[in-house]
Amino acid sequence: MLQTIQLAIEWLSVLLILLGALLSVFSAYGLIRLPDVYLRSHAATKSATLGVLCVLTGVFLYFASSMQTASMNILLGIVFFFITAPVAGHLNGRAAHRSGVPLWTGTIQDELAEAAKAAGVPDAGTSGPMMSSGSKPDDMPGEPSPQASGKGQSGHQEPPEPKDL
């Protein structure tokens, strides 16, 4: 009976590891396919974090059931990744926006540029030399057709080539 429970927990942990590895593969696929830094960080932070949490939880359960050792390193790693991966993604996205990395041409809303403009904070998304998009935040709110505004932007923005694969 105890053997059966142990085997069930081991299989559960191994399947959790496989699920986490699959999530990491999906995250890498999103990192390759998505057209924009901000959309890519969407894939790189969320699903990669969930994947590594699944993998580490699976490894922790595997060692707890098969070798009767609770690894504190893995436990600390779970907590650490859970805290730091979204923070790192947020810092990277904010730095990208402030240094003027262009948005995808299909983007219909840029709330950070509007907020920075309202607060008077220098932001390359509104005033930087790398992006000549002075009219973009004014056009965005209440725009009835996002497709039309997306097309209007595409003339003066440097698209990051969504289909360059």
Binding site: I17, A28, S41, V59, A95
Partner: protein
């Protein structure tokens, strides 16, 4: 069970390869930073699965270490990209 662990390690290696493509290709620095952060996270997961595969806890310090290194590296690179330097001097008056 060992086979499933081996398949998981191969999938994680595939994910690292995909992130490496984005590091080499990425049009902006921010793409490369995000991909490098994901590579660090995936390497930590790979080390953990390798520990489960070989049934040894010898490398589990590396999981925590890779997490810390990936986070510190991402923060430093993002700050460097944002304002041209990593650490602000105490008497700095030009910072935000």
């Amino acid at each position: 069970m060992q086979t499933v662990l081996l398949i998981s390690m191969m999938l994680l290696a595939l994910a690292i390869g995909g992130c490496l493509y984005r590091v080499l290709k990425g049009p902006s620095i921010a793409d490369r930073i995000a991909a490098l952060d994901t590579i660090g996270v995936n390497v930590a997961a790979e080390v953990a699965v390798a520990g489960a595969y070989t049934r040894s806890t010898a490398y589990f310090e590396l999981v925590l270490l890779m997490g810390i290194l990936a986070f510190i590296g991402t923060v430093a690179l993002a700050r460097y990209m944002e304002r041209g330097r990593v650490l602000d001097a105490p008497d700095d008056t030009t910072g935000d």
